[in-house]
Assembly symmetry: C3
Homo-oligomer: 311 residues x 3
């Protein structure tokens, strides 16, 4: 381990070089194995993680807290920061940062405003991990997605990965696409034209050597994809209800859709899902989204231990 | 210890055989003694309990969390699951179950819907303990009630136990009556006719050999009872306010009521109480309801340690 | 260490003698040093702190929880007691006290009603620490203020300390003034006449030998003060908006104000601040308010360890 992340913030997936990402994935795999052996770890004993959520995200919060507990560390938490914290008394995010840094050794924040994680990190003298800042970034989700793809397919180079759904507004797919650009991959962007991947990001990916296809035909894309990364389409993104209903119908993964896709295709979803993946998919070996959730703990353990200098 | 509960769910008190209940009570007594000696336990070190409450129950949540801490384990918590969790985004209880099982080694859930605990347990691959599912069951309350009666009276066989209040809607008394049916007991059901113990449950108890009396005369019942188990009567259960006021008045335990009852009678209440037990009872040796709350920690320690295979 | 605080409640700063206060400050300094050396402490292993907040105070809650974690202890928490707890079902504070004492070894409570902390302490058979009871007391804030002044100035005797802002309603300055009366200090009370320090408290301080000046001229006071303790002035305390605006303007600490004050003046604030200290002060060595927040952890560690008999 290079220890290169000690004391570092993680605000954007772009903060990490490819070797650093690889270090995180390697460390996560080691933690997964140690937990599988039933090992109780004390690497972060005496260290405190503050989880601060200005909008609810039970899944992300519990995943980080579980990770810190598995490392032997402790948690202080503001689960509903908007209403219950000093923010309601008019405190700036900079002052909150200094408070949290007085009480904790590492801070994880979810906040609805783009840029808020960077503001927190600039004011806090302990590492800050961005757990989502509005339509901005959610870098630990991208890392756990990478980890899952690598675990499911045995590697990342050479893969063809379809991203399906709302590619315009989804910070998850933006971060993941940027992360995947470090490897030799083909990305199929499957969405209604209204919800296409932003042109600037597509250009950026192509400049980095990523092969990109854009389509609104999911089944055609899945016939060639090694991985299908599914996200939710929300009605409020469409001008007309008819348009919404048209895409809502065709962008649903069912067991039948999986059977017609490339054999061995791995189906991922950042969860929670609503109805974009039918429950008849759950029992298929292709359904990796619950394993993906579990992998989030290993990846966050790796990150926490690394920024705390505990490994 | 038989270890027979390792990996098991506890949804209904009927899930446990009499020997299993006895194991839990024996284990709880052992934990009580170890804590009294000031012992710090590490039996559940490295293990994580998720407490998920879709309706508030501070008492039950804190009791479980205290139990897990006393065992050296860790907690992740969704104290206000209804508003703050993925449920608000439309996630099913089955998907929540898989998420929680990815982050924790055992799950405790309180949910307003009957059957929700079973649904959670069916989807989660870690043990689930029901901390109340609407008018359904609350099995750990029944176990701590049993433990308290046994501790206060030195045993369960041969006792006459009066249950007072709303016996129709009270899941607590339903679970406790079912649990007591494993022993040779007499049960006096004291309630207004409108709030009587369901006939089906009475039949079931009698088939198991329980002697059952039903009455609306509390003082007469308490003259013969070894234990008085008091529950709250809520106004909204009555059609007419007059009817409510009539029973509200006579089903209040005061120091005077205790003096006229059978000597040595033990007064229990699942708490919180409002005014069905007057505060002048608190100082009497008969008042066991605060000891009962304390016993909840020992019983929940026993259950957590047993389903986790830690004892 | 005299251990004299074992089992004791801390409701008012007046509960502590001068030697006891000095013990707390000495213990806090020792904990600060041990943490600075990177020591992981296990002094409160197996012990549980319950934090119960009937009104939000993220800063105070997290400070106590961080302190307990640093000691190796555990936390159970009711962060929003008003809505989520048994209080909503009509439970009295005395019954809540007995419940909490069944689950925890020490209780920290914030409650909007004066006297509520004493009521809790009277009913609970474990130590209770008052984390603010309305306009009543907030004794741990006074202790951390003392600790900070001593650390910043090297001692307390002989200091001239200006308290600025709303001195009528501020429980923080009341508790701090009472605590400082154990030492040979001069107190300058700087406020609008409407928000002056209560006459009874001023009399009491003078009887104890404190030299007191009262003024509404902040800059004149700061020219002679070793310490400036700033608090917020709230608009709703004034009858006329004009009056408010007049004082709002002159009671703002800026870098320029600090430059015109006594050299080496230490600026304190209980936080959160809104605009009574300009951010251009933050970078000055005089700005001690963020160090003050950090000191809260050491002081609360000392108190928790002492009332638990762990040191």
């Amino acid at each position: 381990m290079t220890h290169s992340l000690k004391g570092r913030d993680l605000i954007s997936i772009a903060d990490l070089s490819k070797p650093e990402i690889q270090d995180v994935l390697t460390q996560a795999a080691q933690f997964e194995q140690r937990l599988a052996r039933g090992e109780t770890m004390h690497l972060c004993e005496g260290r405190i993680l503050a989880t601060v959520f200005y909008e609810p995200s039970t899944r992300t919060r519990l995943s980080f807290e579980s990770a810190m507990h598995r490392l032997g560390g402790r948690i202080i938490s503001v689960a509903e920061a908007r209403t219950s914290s000093s923010a309601a008394k008019g405190e700036t995010i900079e002052d909150s940062a200094r408070m949290l840094a007085a009480y904790a050794d590492v801070i994880v924040q979810r906040h609805p405003a783009v840029g808020s994680a960077r503001a927190l990190a600039d004011a806090a003298d302990v590492p800050v991990i961005n757990a989502g800042d509005g339509t901005g970034e959610h870098p630990t989700q991208a890392l756990l997605d990478l980890y899952t793809i690598e675990r499911e397919k045995g590697g990342l180079d050479g893969l063809q990965i379809a991203m399906v759904g709302d590619l315009k507004n989804g910070r998850t797919v933006h971060s993941l696409a940027k992360a995947l650009a470090h490897w030799r991959v083909t990305l199929d962007f499957v969405s209604p034209p209204e919800l296409a991947m932003p042109a600037r990001l597509v250009d950026e990916l192509q400049e980095q050597g990523v092969r990109v296809h854009q389509t609104d035909d999911m089944q055609a894309a899945l016939a060639e994809a090694d991985v299908a990364y599914i996200t939710r389409i929300q009605q409020e993104r469409f001008v007309s209800p008819d348009e919404y209903l048209r895409y809502k119908g065709v962008y649903v993964i069912t067991a039948e859709v999986v059977r017609q896709a490339k054999p061995g295709i791995v189906v991922l979803h950042p969860l929670p899902r609503v109805d974009e993946i039918a429950t008849d998919v759950d029992a298929l070996p292709n359904a990796a989204y619950f394993r993906q959730a579990r992998n989030g703990v290993y990846v966050r353990m790796a990150l926490l231990a690394m920024v705390l200098g505990a490994v």
